[in-house]
């Protein structure tokens, strides 16, 4: 069973790695942030799998911490994006403009 759980953790980590492409490519900062959020959930899942597989104590606490702080980080992003950064929002609008061309039909 341990091996299976570890394999599942590897698999989830693999999807996380795949998701990194979205952080690399953007194109908008919101995309990057949501990718990070997604990876956060994946990280929590991998953590729980690893923890149960190796019998680590207090893994739920670490998971709780990660979940709490991932939410907190997104809030910080939204606050920063809408209040402080004149340059950021401008950049976003300009770069987001690349998107419609690839829209689905």
């Amino acid at each position: 069973m341990t091996e299976f759980l570890l394999a599942a953790a590897v698999f989830v980590l693999g999807t996380v790695a795949l998701g990194l492409v979205r952080i690399l490519r953007g194109p908008t900062n919101a995309d990057r942030m949501l990718a990070a959020q997604l990876l956060g959930t994946g990280g929590v899942a991998a953590l729980l799998l690893l923890g149960v597989a190796t019998g680590t104590s207090a893994l739920a606490e670490v998971g709780l911490l990660l979940a709490l702080l991932a939410a907190f980080a997104s809030v910080a992003f939204v606050s920063g994006a809408t209040s402080g950064g004149h340059t950021t929002s401008g950049g976003q609008a300009a770069r987001g403009g690349e998107e419609p061309g690839r829209d689905a039909g």
Partner: protein, 167 residues
């Protein structure tokens, strides 16, 4: 006021018990300090909760709440499958667009909760509120009966608190 304070305290204390797990300990005496700290921490958390989110005078119908919870659990599972289906489909069947939903819940934490919950249901994502009485939704597939689904969810939510306005 007192009722909802007690309710929250019970909920938060329950969460503490989850975290601390005092009944895992060897003996009753060892668990005692844990419980005492839990009572204190729970009270502190309740106080903060009451400060941040003052309770409203209406009473909560727990039956409706339970039904709502179970329904959203089911819907969020369906939502997951829905995403998976669309993501794996080579044709990428999406018809995204916006939906202005005339919301009946007055602006309040309840409405925010409605937005959050409906973001977990298949195909809809609350984006913001355009005017006073509209919530803007982003939909994955405009061909789905999104508005109807939202309306039924809303009715369910309204029943928790406003018994009269439910159909």
């Amino acid at each position: 006021m007192l009722r909802s304070a007690l309710g929250r305290w019970a909920l938060l204390f329950g969460f503490w018990l989850l975290l601390a797990g005092p009944w895992d300990g060897a003996s009753w005496r060892e668990a005692l300090p844990d419980l005492a700290v839990g009572l204190l921490a729970g009270s502190l958390a309740t106080w903060v909760s009451l400060r941040l989110l003052p309770p409203t005078p209406e009473r909560i119908r727990y039956g409706a709440l339970l039904r709502l919870a179970s329904q959203f659990l089911g819907k969020s599972i369906v939502a997951g499958f829905d995403i998976a289906r669309r993501a794996f489909d080579p044709r990428l069947p999406l018809r995204p667009g916006y939906l202005d939903y005339p919301v009946r819940i007055p602006p309040s934490p309840d409405r925010a909760a409605f937005g959050a919950l409906t973001s977990l249901t298949p195909g809809t994502l609350a984006v913001g509120s355009d005017e006073k009485d509209h919530l803007v939704y982003h939909c994955l597939d405009l061909d789905q009966p999104n508005a109807a689904s939202l309306a039924s969810d809303e009715a369910l939510l309204l029943r928790i608190r406003f018994a009269d306005s439910a159909q």
